[in-house]
Symmetry: C2
Subunit: 278 residues, 2 copies
């Protein structure tokens, strides 16, 4: 947080940026929470290198996240080779920031390390081939990555997740030399943002439709969605010149199988990569 605190928004400003008119009640607050609310994904990076040891600090933060039963079924690979970066960018549908950021990490769901442990001890691990174990690995990779993101942002760096690596997980595995039982869950660009690349904080759905008390209740949804559609249309117009509502964006993104860009074959790809998903 050193040196960051001065540019962090006040609580009313942070809540207004995140929720528009649908601001929730103001609870406890501090500089760390202000930093979390100030997150935005950045898709344009300066080539400036990171300070020495930044990667090790981000990985230490990542490893400090909780991991199910301390199994530690995740790993991370950094990609430096320009040719390998180019393949990653192509898999992700041409996202140029993958090639320009100074640090590109691929977070891995990794049950192979535990599998090797079992083999070395002469105790094959019966629990490995299950969907549950893959899910644990993917969740633990996500918890770890989010800690890395929080650490990076506290150092004045920006980030963006690259879920589009799942367009072709077999290609990613080939380039990174992944053994069976290891899958690239998502990438993460890290670096200093280009001027104006940080953009505005993106509004989210009102808390009333995401937070439920005691039992799930979709009742407030139609009204909240209409209000959020208006927020997102205004946000898009201010930032991207096309005034699509959230409703329109969701339909564009998952309305058709074609829009999944190959990710409709994820189950088959995982099978081929050593995850039977039993």
């Amino acid at each position: 947080m050193d040196g960051m605190t001065s540019r962090l928004p006040t609580q009313p400003a942070a809540l207004a940026a995140r929720y528009g008119a649908a601001v929730p009640p103001a609870g406890p607050w501090n500089a760390m929470i202000a930093a979390l609310l100030d997150h935005r994904s950045v898709r344009g990076y300066r080539p400036d290198p990171l300070p020495p040891g930044t990667l090790e600090t981000l990985v230490a933060a990542a490893q400090s996240a909780a991991t199910s039963s301390n199994l530690q079924t995740w790993s991370v690979v950094t990609v430096e080779d320009p040719a390998a970066r180019a393949v990653m960018a192509e898999v992700a549908g041409g996202q140029k920031h993958i090639q320009e950021c100074p640090l590109f990490m691929v977070f891995l769901a990794d049950v192979s390390r535990n599998e090797r442990l079992g083999e070395a001890e002469g105790k094959p691990l019966e629990g490995l081939p299950y969907l549950e174990t893959f899910l644990v690995a993917a969740i633990d990779a996500a918890l770890a990555a989010q800690n890395a993101v929080v650490a990076a942002e506290s150092l004045g760096l920006s980030t963006v997740y690259i879920g589009a690596l799942r367009n072709d997980p077999l290609k990613v595995a080939e380039v990174l030399g992944l053994p069976p039982g290891v899958m690239g869950v998502f990438g993460l660009c890290v670096g200093y943002p280009k001027p104006r690349a940080e953009g505005e904080v993106k509004p989210r759905l009102p808390q009333g439709v995401v937070l439920h008390r005691g039992r799930y209740d979709a009742g407030p949804e139609p009204t909240a969605r209409a209000a959020y559609d208006a927020e997102m249309s205004a946000f898009s117009q201010r930032n991207e010149m096309a005034a699509d509502s959230w409703t329109q964006r969701v339909i564009a993104r998952i309305g058709t199988v074609r829009a999944l860009r190959g990710r409709d074959r994820l189950a088959a790809a995982l099978q081929a990569m050593g995850f039977p998903l039993r």
Copy 2:
């Protein structure tokens, strides 16, 4: 961070606690990173209530995490009713902290909100029934939850994830009134720790086996695992009186199907809950 900074460990102390003898090179550092490294899961809570608005602050932090294509395919339910808490504790194999913590949240993979959106607009979303879409929802729930954990810890609160809710996701869905397309991915206890419940920071695997550069390399693993087994035996002896190594713990946890405690049926449970996982 207000009021916390004074009790945070120095960089050498934090790295030594997390890595034992296998300390990585010291990189950039600040109070936020010190707080991330100081994480420990807590399984004993005082009944003291949280300050008003704490839940809303945690949810605002959670919603500020990245979400794939802004789909926001996650939700959260709080559980206050003692009878519902008792069922959750039972599903989780008798974890009493689920009943004693002042705030218990269940993070949900939720594609139902987007499904309702498609129905309301007369555009059924073809992308919903795929494994990819469930995975996005589970990952986004994890990113959100980790932000909530970081925010909670910055307020002096402790947390523990409850993955064992997946022992019986259908029971969890019944108690929380979840519609099809919504699954409780994990629970999260939040509260003030009982005396001595915080415990020591748990050591993790050396960075050399988790962090790969350019290509995956399992070469350093046998040596690193032996060193880590010794660290974890000493840690366990200091804290839990049974000197199991990491290797022994992994084998106990996923060596047999029985050890999965019902989670070997996760794929079938998800199918029944409206996730075809195509």
